[in-house]
């Protein structure tokens, strides 16, 4: 088991734990907890894909970014590492578009963590919170009507 893949093992485990909880637990709150774990697994997966060794937070301090990686992907979707360094590493400071200057070399997308998965997951987390809210609201209604949150007892009363 290689350590770089640790995150991916964890996310698989989280999703399986969540699925197991949703299928086997009889108490509705526990099912909701399982559902949240399941969603968290998916979020961890996205975040893990953005991680990069020795990369900085994606805030450009000095100069516009060369989105070499994004352009690379359109060409050959070999998603990682090579590319930006080969084409632009050599002549920092000679910025044809005139944005950077000699003291502040143009930033390279390679040096930064990919921000897009984080942005996507911000949305997904909001969705998760909303789901939790709706789920708890529904659970309240169930508790009011059935007086229990045990699935077996509810199924019994539904008959």
């Amino acid at each position: 088991m290689t350590l770089e893949l640790l995150n991916y093992y964890v996310f698989t485990a989280l999703m399986l734990v969540g699925l197991y909880a949703m299928m086997t637990r009889r108490h509705l709150i526990r099912k909701v907890v399982g559902m949240m774990i399941f969603q968290t697994g998916a979020i961890l997966f996205f975040i893990s894909t953005a991680a990069k060794v020795d990369a900085d937070i994606p805030i450009v301090r000095h100069a516009p970014v060369v989105i070499a990686e994004a352009a690379e992907t359109h060409d050959d979707h070999d998603d990682d590492t090579h590319g930006a360094d080969d084409t632009h590493g050599g002549d920092d400071g000679h910025d044809p578009s005139g944005h950077g200057d000699a003291d502040h070399p143009r930033a390279k997308a390679d040096d930064y963590v990919n921000p897009l998965p984080h942005v996507l997951m911000l949305t997904a987390i909001v969705v998760g919170v909303a789901t939790l809210g709706v789920a708890l609201g529904i659970i309240l209604r169930i508790q009011e009507h059935f007086g229990t949150l045990d699935e077996d007892e509810i199924l019994e009363k539904l008959r």
Binding site: M22, I67, A135
Partner: protein, 502 residues
């Protein structure tokens, strides 16, 4: 004006219902009765914009819209590394325009119809109901117009979350059904999200068009495809992931079931269609030679659909609760649609898309009848329909027409979609599937006649009661739609969907 509307149509169809959803809670605090009016008007406006957009698309080609002016598709040469292409693109093309028109029209008609049923079942909560219903419409329209697979997920969750709330609105059994729906729906949506993650990691893009280009240059991750297809199948309610559907549609308030049943699962079908044909297929499935992306998926979908047709119809035949019968029939009809998608033949695909419209219309009409029965004080069981022909004669007429269309009696809509499916199956040499289609129609005849027999030939001495025009008018219009869907089916397929059909 028209040009402005059609140019901004992709974003208008989302913003209009959103505006209604925001305005209603404020206004309804003081005057709950206005909620119905606002929701209906905004839904009608959405439908009008969708139809205008569809006409524009048929005439001038797809409408592309970049939200906030951020481009989503590279316009310059690939060497231009400074171009930012992270925007979200909205597109209305022939297929999404068609779906949007059907969905928005059905939503508007159901909202217009629902004043009495909502007042009957959810008294005092009109504001909440109509606001949430408009949010469902926001999500559905968003899913139809977006060209970004993550944005699709967001709209999917918008529509699903409000859908759960709409189902739960009645409390009691409905809340239990909504909880089941929520758990399964969230699993489905999370699987879809995971599939999106896999695709993003292997391609680096989220725009559907770009994704299709990049995927065709390399290999497609079967895991991603499996996640997305299973996730959408759960939301469609495709056999064997259908267990949430009957309770959600039958135990909820009749207005909730009537609002969701005709449109919700159809938009999920659209997602599957988009994914299989636009992203994984040849990118343009309106040219009449639709090519299913991974060929191996075809038989799986076809057989899953075939099993759904048979199983759904058989269960519908033994259900005694009217709305539960309709819900199981929905599972069967969705089986037809998915079967058509899986057959991978232009005729079958035309049949599937046509069936989306026809099923939305006839299932809407049948739910309206269930609502009319409820408001008139009748029970839920199909035995309570006895004498309906005497009590509500006009409603019963519509019930018979919609039911006949469900069976597939020419010249009603249901006949033509099944006819296209059958021809597609025969052209592909899939005789087993053709038999399934015919058996499905026979089973549909059984369960529809169980209803019609009671409604028309029960005790006939009942007095005709008042049929409220606010419910009868939408029912009548939708029933006319069922008839028109049959008479105009050739036009719909040839003019709206593809150019030539053999």
């Amino acid at each position: 004006m028209i040009a402005w509307v059609s140019h901004h149509a992709p974003v208008l169809v989302v913003l209009l219902p959103l505006a209604a959803a925001l305005v209603i809670p404020i206004v309804a605090l003081r005057r709950p009765s206005v909620a119905h009016l606002i929701a209906t008007v905004f839904a009608l406006a959405t439908a009008a914009v969708s139809v205008i957009a569809l006409i524009t698309v048929v005439r001038d080609g797809p409408i592309h819209y970049f939200v906030g002016g951020w481009t989503a598709v590279p316009t310059g040469p690939p060497s231009d590394l400074t171009e930012v292409v992270f925007g979200i693109e909205l597109v209305i093309d022939r297929v999404s325009g068609f779906f949007a028109s059907v969905v928005a029209t059905m939503a508007a008609s159901t909202l217009a119809w629902s004043r009495l049923p909502v007042g009957h079942e959810l008294p005092g909560r009109e504001g909440a109901f109509y606001s949430v219903a408009c949010l469902v419409l926001v999500g559905l329209m968003g899913m139809l117009v977006t060209a970004d697979i993550f944005n699709f997920y967001v709209f999917l969750e918008v529509s699903s979350l409000s859908g759960y709330a709409l189902v739960a609105a009645k409390g009691g059994r409905a809340a239990a059904a909504a909880f089941r729906y929520l758990i399964l729906g969230t699993v489905g949506a999370s699987l879809y999200l995971l599939g999106v993650g896999y695709l993003y990691v292997s391609t680096g893009v989220l725009n559907m068009g770009l994704l299709s280009e990049v995927l065709h240059q390399g290999s497609m991750s079967p895991v991603a495809i499996a996640f997305i297809v299973i996730g959408l199948a759960v939301k469609i309610g495709l056999f064997p992931f259908h267990s949430w559907l009957p309770d959600a549609y039958a135990d909820s308030a009749v207005a909730s079931g009537g609002f969701l049943a005709p449109i919700m699962t159809k938009v999920m079908v659209y997602g599957l269609l988009r994914f299989l044909y636009t992203i994984l297929g040849d990118g343009d499935f309106t040219d009449g030679d639709g090519a299913l992306g991974p060929a191996a998926l075809g038989p799986i979908l076809t057989w899953a659909g075939a099993i759904a047709v048979i199983a759904g119809s058989v269960v519908a035949c033994i259900r005694n609760d009217f709305r539960r019968l309709l819900a199981w029939s929905s599972i069967a009809q969705l089986g037809y649609i998915v079967l058509g998608i899986g057959l991978d033949h232009p005729l079958a695909l035309a049949g599937a898309i046509l069936h989306v419209m026809n099923h939305a219309l006839m299932k809407g009409a049948l739910f309206y009848v269930a609502g009319a029965q409820l408001v008139a004080g009748g029970g839920r069981s199909i035995d309570d329909l006895r004498g309906l022909g005497g009590r509500l004669p006009a409603t019963t007429t519509c019930l018979v027409i919609a039911g006949m269309s469900m069976i597939g009696v020419p010249p009603l809509g249901g006949f033509f979609s099944k006819w296209y499916l059958l021809r597609g199956a025969l052209e592909q040499g899939r005789y087993g599937i053709a038999v399934v289609l015919l058996v499905g129609s026979v089973l549909a005849a059984i369960y529809v006649f169980r209803i019609i027999e009671r409604a028309c030939f029960g005790c006939r001495d009942d007095e005709a009661t008042d049929e409220p025009p606010s419910m009868l008018l939408p029912l009548g219009l939708v029933t006319l739609g069922v008839i028109a869907g049959g008479l105009l089916s050739k036009t719909v397929v040839e003019v709206v969907l593809w150019r030539p059909v053999p």
